[in-house]
Amino acid sequence: MFENLVKWARKKSPWILLFNSGSCNGCDIEVIAAVTPRFDIERFGIQVKGSPRHADVLVVTGPVTRQQASRLRRIYDQMPDPKYVVAMGSCGSTGGVFKGLYNVLEGVDKVLPVDAYVAGCPPRPDEIIDGVIAVLGMFESGDGRKRARGKDPIRIERKPLAEVTT
């Protein structure tokens, strides 16, 4: 009963932590744009928080630079269980355009277990919301992470651009 209540509370108001592991800033401003009136991520109860100790979902942008790798791991370890990781953008997923540069590790999954990948360079705010909402589905299925039980992580594919006037 109490567990169900906690699960319900988590699902209704997940707090996300944004971590920039060496991205170009593009993903980060799109996450901030998701908070502002046009996209308004708060209508799902989602809040962008500062401290890893308060966060349920870690959103990581950037290809993970060598200097950031150990810090990213430390942040992840500081988060309370259950915790979920969303790798944002092409470079967060695979290293993207930064593949082959000497100071990058090419992808968040080199350092952390990742639950959802969001494609795009950068993903649009609606795609970011899609990714976080997909992770909310995992909250339902219990405290363990899906990946640990041998299931595939979620992949949010790039959607075709909306009807534009050109």
Binding site: L18, F19, N20, G22, S23, C24, N25, G26, C27, D28, I29, E30, I32, A33, T36, P37, R38, G50, S51, P52, G62, P63, T65, Q67, Q68, R71, R74, I75, C91, V97, F98, G100, L101, Y102, N103, V104, C121, P122, R124, L161, V164, T165, T166
Partner: protein
């Protein structure tokens, strides 16, 4: 009390260097600060901007010009067009390639739209840092209009990739131009409102004036660029001083302010918003017909070039050396934020702790967001660590209690 009169262990504490992890990226990119304070006053400031080093300069040497263009665009997501255009411009100069007039106008239009989005973003972030969150939500709502335009013109909201060597990738059609003019009219009205807000709203003027002092001479000698320098009365703008693209033809004014503080930088940015909107309108209305692209040669003859561009944050410099192949021999970047960091140290020394967020935000750092800030109080012999949110809250509370400046929760 002077640092020299302290007990050795306290002095050691004051000199302590803590590797401050970027554990708290509240808004943008990671940077570490070490602040030495005496009570409320800041004694000195040290910063570490190394967290985002990816090795792009080396990467450019291993990729050909076309591949490099897309890599360079991702140096910074906010001024991506500035980086890409500056690089393309430099390579074209090395190749002796003149791009079609229509292409240079389209580059200019995207460049100015980028400046509009960047300045709107800045006004919002500055509002957020001083506790005026209503302004943050207002400006970011309006900014979506520019983002829509950029998406319609280039196909992407952030990394536009409109450039290619020898011109641009996509053309503008009548329908887009009409929509753009329509959006720009609305944006112009909003910009006028923000200019009025920044210059006449009493709380805002009280909060920003006299904060982060940077006198004219200091701005000159520290080599500040962009709105930071122009806010201190330095009349410099690459668009006018060394015109590139079609800037020689488009009429515009260089906005300067003599306030020499954060208010000055706000006034300059608000003024530039209006100027950029007018410039974009003019360029859209006078868009020359013709080709948008010329086929570039495969390689560039040996040579060196310094390419300059007025990015939203100030003068951006690229150095490119070519060696008769399709790759650059050496590539170097000097971003405007790098040039403006010394002015932050100057502006903060002797100021209150409560002024750190807004003074740091005032240069519009591309490497923003201190992960954590360590304070060493020399008088009370203790040190503590704050993250950006706590610092921001402290700053808002301090001004509420001491100056009565408050916008509500």
């Amino acid at each position: 009390m002077e640092a020299s009169g302290l007990r050795p262990e306290v002095r050691k504490l004051a000199e302590m260097t803590i590797p401050i992890g970027p554990q708290h990226p509240a808004l943008k990119e990671p940077v570490g600060f070490m602040v030495n304070v005496e009570g409320e006053r800041i004694k000195s400031l040290d910063l570490d901007v190394s967290y985002n080093h990816r090795g792009i300069e080396k990467g450019v040497e291993q990729r050909d010009f076309n591949q490099s263009l897309y890599l360079i665009e991702r140096i910074c997501g906010i001024c991506s067009h500035a980086h890409a255009t500056n690089f393309a411009k430099g390579i074209e100069e090395l190749m002796n390639l003149e791009i079609p007039k229509r292409a240079s106008y389209i580059r200019l239009i995207v460049g100015e739209l980028e400046r509009i989005h960047s300045h709107y973003l800045w006004v919002g972030v500055a509002g957020h840092e001083i506790g005026f969150d209503t302004l943050f939500m207002y400006t970011w709502r309006d900014r979506e209009l520019v983002q829509d335009l950029l998406e319609i013109i280039s196909g992407n909201r952030v990394n536009y990739a409109i450039n290619c060597l020898g011109g641009v990738r996509r053309d503008l059609n009548e329908k887009t131009i009409k929509l753009a003019l329509d959006h720009l009219k609305k944006l112009g009205e909003r910009a006028a409102y923000y200019t009025q807000l920044a210059t006449t709203e009493e709380t805002m003027v009280d909060r920003l004036s006299g904060v982060g002092k940077l006198p004219y001479e200091k701005a000159k000698s520290l080599g500040s660029v962009g709105p930071t320098a122009r806010g201190s009365g330095v009349d410099s703008d690459v668009r006018r001083d060394d015109p590139y693209l079609a800037y020689a033809e488009v009429p515009f004014k260089v906005i300067t302010a003599n306030n020499c503080d954060v208010l000055g930088r706000t006034i300059v940015r608000a003024g530039e918003l209006a100027q950029s909107i007018e410039m974009t309108k003019w360029a859209l209305e006078n868009l020359p017909p013709g080709e948008i692209k010329k086929a570039p040669p495969r390689s560039a003859p040996p040579g060196e070039v310094i390419s300059r561009y007025e990015a939203p944050r100030g003068e951006l410099v690229h150095y490119i050396k070519s060696n008769n192949t399709d790759k650059a021999d050496r590539f170097g970047v000097r971003t405007p934020t790098m040039a403006n960091w010394p002015s932050v140290v100057e502006g903060l020394t002797g100021q209150n702790i409560a002024d750190i967020p807004i003074v740091v935000a005032a240069i519009d750092p591309c490497l923003s967001c201190t992960s954590r800030t360590t304070f060493v109080d020399i008088d009370r012999h203790k040190s503590w660590v704050w993250n950006w949110d706590e610092l921001r809250n402290y700053s808002i509370r301090w001004y509420k209690e001491n100056k009565g400046i408050y916008w509500g929760d």
